[in-house]
């Protein structure tokens, strides 16, 4: 049986890669994919702890996180389509209407 900590370390690395993508890219779709990467890292943590403590609740939470990620992807990509129609770009720096 593989130690739980190894899964947690893999999850931490993937989460840090996702943070890096969100902070350094300007392409909206790429930022969105980085967010999906972070969501998956958290899912891996849930499953690792579920196996560690023999709890089914972690698995149920992964199920809900997947459903919410699907909803988030649908709405977010619709927002980017709308932004592209108005500004001809998906550069997030161009979407500065509500910026302080």
């Amino acid at each position: 049986m593989i130690p739980t900590q190894w899964f947690l370390i893999l999850s931490a690395i993937l989460f840090a890669i996702g943070v890096c993508g969100v902070l350094t890219r300007k392409n909206g779709i790429t930022i969105f994919m980085s967010i999906e990467l972070m969501v998956n890292a958290v899912n891996l943590t849930f499953l690792a702890y579920a196996r560690q403590f023999h709890q089914l609740h972690g698995l149920i939470f992964v199920f809900f996180v997947m459903a919410i990620a699907a909803a988030e992807a649908a709405v977010g990509l619709a927002i980017f389509i709308s932004l592209f129609h108005h500004r001809e770009t998906i550069d997030v720096d161009e979407a500065n209407l509500m910026r302080w």
Binding site: I17, G21, T24, V62, A70, I81
Partner: protein, 166 residues
């Protein structure tokens, strides 16, 4: 022994393709790398004795969500679009900050996350998950269905162009 080899191989695949996702300039390549990374994570779920969620990961994430991403990329014709590089100070702070964050996480996990496991086998097949989902979690389950309905309506309203309310 074989499961350690599988773990290290697919962990390497997941991390390498995750780097390709955030570093490659072409959005289509990024999306396909994300599919590969999610497949590697599905193998991790199998190693964690959750084959049902591994199947869900492949079907929902690598199937449905990534097809949606690729569809939007193709629809907006983004693969030829040039992306302005971010400011150097933002690049530096992003890479340094996330590297420090990741190193700190790995350090604290390897130092402090030592725990005892209860005895007995852990059963997480589709049957037990289904019973838990439809008994203890029936209300959140229904809430998720309403959330998905709201997401459908929201996506339709946001992406409809030039449709005026009559």
């Amino acid at each position: 022994m074989i499961e350690y080899a599988v773990f290290f191989f697919f962990a390497a695949v997941a991390v390498i393709f995750a780097f390709v996702v955030i570093l490659h300039r072409n959005t289509v390549v990024s999306a396909l790398s994300l599919v590969a990374s999610l497949f590697a994570l599905a193998v991790m779920y199998v190693l964690l004795e959750a084959p049902f969620l591994a199947a869900l990961q492949v079907i929902i994430y690598a199937g449905a969500i990534m097809v949606l991403f690729l569809f939007v990329i193709m629809l907006l014709n983004l693969q030829k679009m040039r992306e302005e590089p971010t400011r150097p100070i933002q690049q530096f702070l992003g890479y340094a900050g996330s590297a420090a964050f990741g190193i700190a996480l790995v350090y604290y996990i390897s130092k402090y996350a030592v725990m005892q496991s209860p005895v007995g086998p852990f059963i997480a097949d589709a049957r037990t998950i289904g019973i838990t989902l439809f008994e203890a979690y029936i209300f959140p389950f229904e809430m998720v269905s309403i959330l998905l309905l709201a997401a459908i309506v929201g996506a339709l309203v946001l992406s409809a162009r030039g449709v005026q309310s009559s």
